[in-house]
């Protein structure tokens, strides 16, 4: 099948408006007769469910958590971008579009990104109307902060809990519809397959995670907003339950999977402390507004610090290497994430890592505390303030901005980041790749949509900070509710979809077979054993830098591990009960397939772009080197084993932006 992105004709700034004007609509009376399933209740799924229900569709929403409010969007910290230009610093729809495409290393679809930038401002209006308590200045107007890879201040935030507040906003919109009976909410339910009838997505098979019951749910369209697949690395900043299953199941039923190798390794996470570690914790990128990243200049100092003979605060300015400021003077500590991560890895690989594992760099707030302290002293008319007073005043400002992050750090590491610099190291955070969708956010299966992090669309090879929240809400509040109507307009006479058909029966049967296999298999190894092994292969060979040899090995190793998994996995307990090991087994089974496709995609992509860094393709200075011939989206078609997947290319055409070398120097 040839890929058709269905991007409308016309100048880029008019495409979305013109398209909306001509799109098919479903009249309000008919919407009552149309059911839509939404899988996942994060920013994308939650906002889509709420909006579709407001429009009048009957929505069934599914979440594996015990409440929609717990989806992992809640953990997003720093903020959400919007081209409001409230700061008057030259922001515009075009500039947000430009920054996002450039930030994504020219590997995203122009028209989608432009639309994203266009609706971004609306998101802020919407969220404020919902009662989201964004940070404000003393004049009562909305405040902004800066994020990596841009030269304006366009990030709206609610302390270090922006994702939480936006998700609770979407959750509140959902609650209103649940109360009206327009959303039927299925908590603690996991989608295990999609049901295709006559080539169209018509329902799902879901498992009730409390009772273990396998349920059939039908609808006229299915929307998957199940998040990213960062947990393929076992250790990531994702929630423990975050998984690829819904996205992978639809891939296996015909939806192409795009750019699986585009993964974001976030530069500022709390370093690993031991083998028992179950997850990694992010420290918001917003910290790079005020924090300065450094390692010691001399290896002797590194050694002294590791052995505890010296403290970081003992080192003078001359003895420190602020390597981001040194290498990228224009953007300094606010280079995009992929650049910052690779730079940290480069220093640590060279032996400058400052903790016992050698995998940590400093994020230092001393300068910011002093700067804010002096500023406050001026504001409060304190002449000749003492050092202590300056520190006190400055600390208060830093605490107001990042207090919850500092507290989180202190609880985990047991060090006070106001007094000693934080230690950070990159960790897997977000996956730009995902299910391929067209301009309508529809996958290659009619009636099957994919939104938010689960799809591949807007971030290319690298996502800029504070853009994930923007995309999730744009998809759910403002894009999908329009585009899905165009498809559903043909379904007004279809009537209720029956679940008593052979398609549902077959799908259910296959789901049950897998579950029965797991609970009956007399294996010797736990699910986590396999997940950790997979994670190690992924991190070592498909991590921050990749090469052909490693990737080829990874493909083989993952394939072997998968075979072993299906022989040796052990799942205690039964199928008709609450059984977390069983749920995990299903998820890891899918990760084991995705992981291989991931490595294959990375191997095929003979270039460096954004988060995908191939050692064979770098500039003499060690920067990522893009290849013109790889200016396409890799969309993989499922053909049984991951190694048999077929590559389809969607060529990327840039008419409104000049493709240049991406420089932050």
């Amino acid at each position: 099948m040839a890929l058709d992105s269905k991007v409308p004709e016309g100048p880029i700034q008019d495409k979305w408006t013109d398209y909306k004007n001509k799109i098919n609509l479903v009249n309000p009376a008919n919407k009552r007769h149309i059911d839509v399933i939404v899988v996942g209740t994060g920013l994308a799924g939650g906002s889509a469910a709420a909006t579709l229900a407001e429009l009048g569709y009957n929505v069934k929403a599914f979440a594996y958590q015990d409440s929609p409010r717990r989806a992992h969007s809640i953990a997003a910290q720093g903020g959400i971008n919007a081209a409001k230009n409230y700061q008057g610093d030259g922001d515009s729809t075009y500039r947000l579009f430009y920054d996002t495409v450039k930030g994504g290393d020219y590997r995203s679809r122009e028209a989608n990104v432009y639309r994203l930038a266009e609706v971004s401002a609306n998101i802020i209006d919407q969220c404020v109307a919902q009662g989201v308590p964004f940070a404000r200045d003393y004049g009562g107007l909305l405040d902004n902060r800066s994020f990596g890879g841009v030269l304006v201040s366009r990030t709206f935030y609610a302390k270090g809990q922006t994702g939480q507040q936006l998700l609770l906003g979407a959750y509140s919109a959902m609650n209103r519809q649940i109360a009206r009976g327009k959303i039927e909410m299925f908590n603690r339910h996991e989608m295990l397959d999609v049901v295709i009838v006559d080539g169209k997505a018509r329902g799902i098979i879901a498992r009730n995670l409390v009772t273990g019951e396998i349920e059939r749910h039908s609808a006229h369209a299915v929307v998957v907003g199940s998040g990213g697949y960062g947990n393929v690395y076992f250790l990531s900043t994702n929630a423990m339950g975050s998984n690829v299953t819904a996205a992978w199941k639809i891939h296996k039923k015909g939806a192409y999977f795009a750019n699986p190798c585009y993964t974001q390794i976030h530069p500022t996470c709390i370093p690993r402390s031991g083998d028992y570690q179950s997850k990694l914790t992010l420290m918001s990128e917003s910290l790079r507004n005020d924090g300065r990243i450094w390692v010691p200049k001399n290896l002797d100092d590194v050694k002294a610090i590791r052995e505890g003979r010296k403290k970081p605060t003992d080192l003078s300015e001359d003895e420190r290497d602020y390597y981001l400021e040194r290498r990228y003077p224009a953007f300094g500590n606010l280079v995009p994430r992929d650049v910052a991560s690779r730079a940290a890895k480069e220093r640590c690989d060279a032996g400058y890592g400052v903790n016992a594992t050698g995998e940590a760099v400093y994020l230092d707030f001393a300068a910011a505390i002093e700067r804010y302290g002096k500023e406050q002293a001026k504001i409060h008319n304190i002449s000749n303030p003492s050092k202590g007073k300056i520190y006190e005043l400055g600390q208060a400002i830093v605490e107001a901005k990042y207090g919850n992050l500092f507290q989180m750090y202190e609880k985990i590491v047991d060090e006070n980041p106001y007094e000693t610099p934080m230690m950070i190291y990159p960790a897997v955070h977000y996956t730009m790749g995902g299910v391929w969708v067209d301009y309508n956010l529809m996958t290659t299966v009619p009636g099957l949509y994919c939104i938010g992090e689960a799809n591949f669309s807007d971030h290319g090879a690298n996502r800029l900070g504070a853009s994930a929240l923007m995309q999730g809400l744009a998809d759910g509040y403002f894009v999908l509710p329009y585009t899905i109507g165009d498809y559903l307009a043909d379904d007004i006479r279809t009537g209720k979809i029956s679940t008593d058909t052979k398609e549902f029966e077959e799908a259910e049967k296959s789901v049950k077979e897998t579950i029965n296999f797991f609970v009956n298999n007399k294996g010797s190894k736990s699910v986590d054993y396999f997940h950790k092994k997979l994670g190690k292969i992924m991190w070592d060979k498909c991590g921050m830098s990749r090469n052909a040899k490693g990737l080829t090995e990874a493909i083989q190793e993952i394939s072997d591990l998968r075979k072993e998994f299906w022989k040796e996995v052990s799942v205690p307990g039964g199928s008709e009960e609450y059984n977390e090991e069983l749920a995990k087994a299903g998820r890891v089974a899918d990760f084991l397939e995705l992981g291989e496709l991931f490595a294959k995609d990375a191997l095929v992509r003979e270039e460096s772009a954004g988060g995908h860094f191939r050692e064979e393709h770098q500039t003499p200075e060690g920067e990522a080197k893009r290849m013109k011939e790889f200016q396409f989206v890799s969309a993989w078609e499922y053909k049984g084993e991951p190694k048999d997947a077929v590559l389809h290319k969607e060529e990327l055409v840039y008419k409104n932006i000049e493709v240049k070398e991406r420089s932050y120097k």
């Binding site: 407001e54 109307a129 404000r136 302390k159 900043t237 609880k411 509040y477 205690p572 609450y578």
Partner: protein, 247 residues
């Protein structure tokens, strides 16, 4: 360090549960409490036994899923954290740790340490929202200036993660801190004024219907709340309800 764990085991919501003793060895003080539980579960799975079921997800203190009552306190002995942020350095070698689910009649046990908190969702359905459609035609965000003080206070109330520690720790199993926080968030913002009276009345009615107890102002909830939600929010809810009653 080596530890003895006394853990509540309960097969399902209908079964009768009991405390069961376990031993774990070589626990690092840098582990989080849930990583210690992972070690125990890995041990149990290795022996072919059923692991201890417990709720957890983000493991960074924001999703509100984890919910253990550890040594007689919701989320354990540390302050300003959830169970997943509790670290083993708070314990000593040889300690016996009692681990129970959050208890309340409105939070029935599903299995072991997993509880059903959908009562909280139903309270939110009753009014935890502002009735505005996602039409995209709302007024410009800066058309409604809000004093920084009010916005900050609303934010402080809004940081509630809905974990239920307040209920679990309250001797009356009262949900007033949870409800008070949501009522306060909207009561403090101009956007929330239009429906303020209905909201507080409906949410309190649903809270009562769910079988949560009454507040006797012991203040325990505020101390145990991982997000430090202030008791002032309960007072504000009381005020809002009185205002609504005389309206």
């Amino acid at each position: 360090m080596n530890l003895t764990l006394k853990i509540w085991r309960q097969k399902d919501s209908n079964a009768k549960g009991q405390m069961v003793d376990y031993k774990v060895t070589e626990i690092s003080e840098h582990m989080s409490f849930l990583e210690m539980m992972d070690v125990l579960n890995e041990q149990l799975v290795g022996k072919g036994e059923e692991p201890v079921a417990f709720d957890h997800d983000c493991r960074e203190g924001i999703c509100g899923m984890c919910s253990m009552y550890i040594n007689g306190e919701a989320h354990g002995p540390d302050r300003g954290i959830t169970t997943c942020q509790l670290h083993m350095r708070m314990f000593k070698d040889g300690d016996t740790i009692t681990i129970e689910p959050f208890r309340a009649a409105a939070f029935p046990v599903i299995k072991d340490l997993v509880i059903d908190r959908t009562a909280f969702d139903r309270i939110q359905h009753a009014g935890g929202y502002i009735s505005v459609n996602t039409s995209g035609n709302t007024q410009d965000a800066n058309a409604i200036p809000i004093s920084k003080h009010d916005a900050d206070e609303a934010m402080d109330a809004a940081t509630c993660i809905g974990c239920g520690a307040c209920v679990a720790t309250c001797k009356n199993s009262s949900a007033m801190l949870f409800v008070g926080a949501k009522v306060s968030q909207y009561a403090l913002l101009p956007q929330g004024q239009v429906e303020a009276a209905d909201r507080v009345q409906n949410m309190v009615a649903q809270m009562d219907l769910e079988g949560f107890g009454n507040c006797t102002n012991t203040g325990a909830c505020e101390v145990e709340c991982p997000k430090g939600i202030s008791l002032d929010n309960i007072a504000r809810m009381n005020r809002e309800l009185m205002k609504a009653a005389v309206k």
